[in-house]
């Protein structure tokens, strides 16, 4: 029997736009088992990114509970959530969000150094990760000079550097061409094969199809769920009924 890494129960989240209050998530429930790869799909504004922010402890629900790696995010203080992010959560953003003043290896070493790993050990670990992702030659270069695909692979290396229990990926291929996107997905798959739990938000059916499970969010709740068998089916895209996804 596997252990749940993520348990979200009856999660509500509203957003004030200034003129009106929009309910983004309306009593959402979610469980992600250890080693599972879950893709979250939905139309723009459906709440999928909001959910990812909540799972990453970057935002708090208005009500409901969220547990990641056995720790309640909704009850944790800002400092506690920072510590959970540091040790248990890795984040891959659509726009990479690398620190442009750091080299590639500096970016990857950063979470390790924040976690208290010594400079030399952090850099050594970062170089190993970059080598695994095929970025040995780019390790000491400025990240601003890397291609989009290379930058996203650096971001992936950074996200997994501390060995987090949960890897969150927000449209990881959204800003990449097909070839670069495929390379990133191969790396995610390799990580998942090695036991990494992944929650990924995407618009792309082909990208989502690589996950074990696809959850479709609409009106603040999951409205569809597709299993591994379905996602690997040649007709998968027809199975997903959402407009605009």
């Amino acid at each position: 029997m596997t252990t749940p890494i993520v348990i979200a129960h009856d999660v509500h989240r509203c957003v004030d736009t200034g003129t009106r209050r929009i309910e983004i998530l309306r009593g959402l429930d979610l469980v992600i088992e250890e080693g599972e790869w879950v893709a979250i799909m939905g139309a723009s504004g459906s709440g999928k990114s909001t959910l990812l922010h909540l799972l990453g402890g970057l935002d708090l629900p208005d009500s409901g509970s969220i547990t990641v790696a056995g720790r309640r995010l909704d009850q944790a203080s800002e400092a506690e959530r920072a510590r959970i992010r540091r040790s248990d959560i890795g984040y891959v953003f659509q726009s990479y969000n690398l620190l442009t003043e750091l080299t590639a290896v500096g970016n990857v070493a950063l979470p390790l150094r924040i976690s208290g790993v010594g400079r030399k050990a952090a850099l050594a670990r970062a170089r190993t990760l970059l080598a695994e992702l095929g970025l040995t030659d780019q390790a000491d270069g400025s990240v601003a000079e890397l291609s989009g695909g290379e930058q996203q692979r650096v971001a992936l290396a950074r996200a997994v550097a501390t060995g987090p229990a949960l890897l969150l990926a927000d449209e990881p291929t959204g800003a990449l061409d097909t070839e670069a996107g495929a390379a990133v997905m191969r790396q995610l798959a390799a990580r998942n094969d090695a036991g990494q739990t992944i929650a990924m938000v995407t618009h792309d059916h082909r990208v989502a199809a690589q996950a074990d499970r696809i959850l479709v969010v609409s009106d603040g709740r999951f409205v569809e769920e597709h299993s591994l068998l379905e996602t690997r089916s040649p007709d998968f895209t027809n199975l997903v009924s959402l407009d605009g996804v």
């Binding site: 922010h53 935002d59 800002e78 992010r85 984040y91 620190l99 750091l102 979470p111 150094r113 400025s142």
Partner: protein
């Protein structure tokens, strides 16, 4: 032009209020400093010239013991066109309750309007008309808080007489207490007679023909009329202005710092504004704005903000200036506030000129910025080598990231550091100047008065009695005898102290060379500077119709006549066959002994009628100067810290997304604030490293200038290094750290998600 103005106002509307306020603030301060410094110099001179005009423009002040000689000496001079009515007077001491006595030249003058040239100027109350009434010196009254109606004790020959101060006045034979003593005082002729003075002197003023050289005429009169002392208006005016000059130089000197700091702040805010709106400018260009229009709009925008601020600074500086007129406020009253349009033009020219220079480079850069790259708004690549160096530095992740944050925009941070460095320089210089001013004002020996008590017996025949009394007085550490006179050198009348040693030799402060032996003299700095002489030179002066060659053996410290003085041993005159009597005993009391106790003991034992006076410490100057220094320093530090806060806030604002990423990676608020603190501390370190050595150099230069101005010269004030460095450096770092944390704190309240969405 229309397009530029439209762009300008559009930018002003979109610009952050904080940046506008900061720009306006520094322009106001710079303008106020320029206007206040210039006003003090102008107003002080004008105030004195007004008194001179209303006194009939006297050029000479003449004092002699014989009224006939007084007339003879003046009437024989072809340049003299008017002679005021001479008045008789006596040397007395006046005191108020609870205060020590001050040497006073008490003149008998029944009707000031009859005095003609050089008549005293009544400042308050009325003129004397009855017995036991006195009009006191306005400067002395101001120093001791004496108002009309107060009781004043006049002491002559050891006998006190209470009088009522019915008025206060100034005359131009004075350079105002505490700059000069004796101070003037006036009673009726009958009152002076009733005091029964032994020695009556005659004094009065004369006016010279236009264009006459007052110094040359004074020298000629002294040379041909031994026993007469002549003071020229040129000298008096210089003495009157010296305190105000020092004050205004302080203000102007630190005003320059304010302006330089302002220029850095303006450049910094301009760079910040341009960088933060780089993308907007590029978008404007896509819509057809030319590079010239954009550069001009940025320039005009800054000038539009600064121009009203300069006006406000002009008004503020004009209001502040009267309170900086140190030394003249007491006797002449505070100048009214004068809003001089000329100074407004000067302030506008200087401040807007600096502003334009500081803005033109970033404005031009913004105009030339490539559109595509600016729209993409990539991160700054400047300082890449610096960033790589930081990568290698040891320390925690927060230290490295904080240092990176500090140097993210090297040019901008350099400007902020430079402003803070100037603040550190200013603190250093102020510290030293304040210390030096205290030293000069507090140590009478540096001003040429290395004594505590002066004794003047009624007759020189009592000299052996004075010596024996001093030998018996246990509170006395030593004494020497002295006469103040004048010699003629290079056609000028030069104040000269003829001295002889007593049982011990309590010395003047010798700054260079050796004490004078017979055949030699020492000079103060002002003399050596004015006549371009050095130690070892042989000079020739005239005294009592004789020419004497003396060697300059050394340089002593003396601020009398701005240091244009000689000190000559009486033996030098004796060797030339000139007998000079030394009527004053300058007494030094032992350490820890109250001079007033010694005075009381001496008065009991000395022959009747001997005048005993305690040297009154100068209390007027340092307080004002120190206050001015502190205020200006606080302003500079505030401006620099405010600028640093604005710079750090801009850096933090521009890097909100980075902050969001770091929070996503697991940094908490405390760690992010620590990074901001490190970033600010880095600026503080740069400021300390630059500012403290610069402060040392500036302090040395300013001290040299001031010591030169007061006539003492080099060798008295030293600039300490260790203590200021140990105090200022941590303060710089702490200010930087606190400002950095303060600037970053608001972004800690923003949700990480919001930060990640930031552009």
């Amino acid at each position: 032009m229309k397009a530029i103005l439209a762009l300008t106002f559009d930018q002003l509307r979109n610009r952050r209020k904080g940046g506008i306020v900061m720009l306006a603030l520094v322009a106001t301060l710079a303008s106020a400093a320029v206007v206040a410094g210039a006003s003090v110099l102008g107003n002080s001179g004008d105030r004195i010239d007004e008194v001179h005009m209303s006194s009939g423009q006297p050029d000479l002040f003449v004092v002699g013991s014989d009224p006939d000689l007084f007339h003879r000496a003046l009437s024989g001079q072809p340049e003299v066109v008017a002679i005021g009515t001479p008045s008789s007077g006596a040397r007395v001491t006046i005191a108020t309750s609870g205060n020590q006595g001050v040497s006073t030249r008490l003149g008998a003058l029944d009707d000031p309007s009859s005095a003609g040239v050089g008549s005293p100027q009544l400042r308050s109350g009325r003129w004397v008309s009855g017995p036991d009434e006195i009009v006191v010196d306005a400067a002395w009254a101001s120093s001791f808080g004496v108002s009309v109606g107060a009781t004043v004790t006049v002491e002559l020959n050891g006998k006190p007489t209470d009088m009522v101060a019915v008025g206060t006045a100034v005359d131009l034979g004075d350079c105002f207490y505490p700059n000069c003593t004796p101070v003037p005082g006036w009673v009726t002729s009958a009152t002076l007679v009733s005091l029964k003075p032994d020695n009556v002197v005659t004094s009065g003023f004369a006016t010279l023909a236009p264009g006459a050289d007052d110094e040359a005429v004074a020298s000629r009169i002294v040379n041909t009329n031994p026993g007469i002392h002549v003071g020229s208006w040129t000298d008096t005016r210089g003495d009157l202005l010296v305190t105000s000059q020092i004050s205004s130089y302080f203000v102007s000197g630190l005003g320059v710092f304010v302006m330089v700091a302002s220029a850095l702040v303006v450049a910094s805010t301009a760079v910040t504004a341009v960088v933060s709106r780089r993308r907007d400018f590029a978008l404007l260009k896509t819509m057809g704005s030319t590079p010239g229009q954009i550069a001009a709009a940025i320039l005009v925008e800054h000038l539009i903000v600064a121009a009203p601020a300069v006006f406000v600074g002009w008004v503020a500086g004009s209001f502040i200036a009267p309170s900086l007129e140190i030394g003249l406020v007491g006797p002449l009253g505070r100048s009214g506030v004068r809003l001089d349009p000329f100074l407004l033009v000067i302030a506008l020219t200087i401040v807007l000129g600096i502003l334009a220079m500081a803005t033109v480079v970033p404005a031009a850069r913004a105009g030339r910025d490539p559109i595509v790259e600016a729209i993409r708004n990539p991160p700054s690549r400047s300082g890449a080598r610096l960033q790589r160096l930081i990568d290698q530095m040891p320390g925690s992740a927060n230290t490295v990231l904080g240092t990176r944050l500090a140097l993210a925009r090297p040019a901008r941070v350099l400007l902020a550091s430079a402003a803070l460095a100037l603040a550190a320089t200013s603190v250093y210089a102020s510290w030293n100047l304040s210390r030096t001013v205290d030293q000069i004002f507090g140590d009478a020996a540096l001003a040429g008065d290395p004594w505590d008590i002066t004794i003047e017996p009624r007759s020189m025949s009592e000299a052996p009695d004075v010596d024996s009394v001093l030998r018996a007085e246990i509170g006395v550490d030593g004494w020497y005898r002295e006469r103040q006179t004048s010699v003629i050198f290079d056609d000028d009348q030069v104040t000269t102290f003829v001295v002889a040693s007593g049982s011990q030799v309590p010395g003047h402060v010798l700054l260079e060379g050796a004490k004078a032996s017979p055949g030699q003299a020492t000079a103060a700095h002002g003399f050596l500077e004015q006549y371009d002489h050095k130690i070892g030179d042989v000079i020739t002066f005239e005294f009592a119709d004789r020419s004497l060659d003396v060697e300059l053996a050394g340089r002593h410290s003396d601020a009398e006549d701005l240091g244009v003085v000689l000190m000559v041993p009486v033996e030098t005159f004796r060797e030339a066959g000139i007998e000079v009597t030394l009527p004053l005993w300058r007494v030094v009391v032992a350490d820890g002994v109250d001079p007033f106790d010694v005075k009381a003991g001496l008065q009991q034992r000395l022959p009747d009628g001997a005048s005993v006076m305690v040297l009154e410490p100068d209390v007027a100057g340092p307080g004002f100067v120190t206050a001015v220094l502190i205020i200006l320093t606080v302003i500079i530090v505030t401006v620099a810290a405010g600028n640093l806060a604005a710079t750090m806030a801009s850096t933090v604002r521009e890097r909100q997304r980075r902050t969001g990423v770091l929070r996503a990676l697991g940094l908490d608020s405390r760690q992010l604030l620590a990074q901001a603190g490190v970033a600010g501390a880095v600026v503080g370190v740069v400021a300390a490293v630059v500012g403290i050595p610069l402060g040392f150099v500036v302090s040395k230069a300013m001290l040299a200038a001031i010591m030169d101005l007061v006539g003492i010269g080099a060798g008295v004030a030293t600039v300490p290094v260790v203590v200021p460095a140990l105090v200022i450096a941590p303060i710089c770092v702490a200010v930087g750290a606190v400002v950095g944390i303060g600037a970053a704190a608001p972004s800690m309240r923003t949700a990480a998600v919001e930060l990640l969405r930031a552009d």
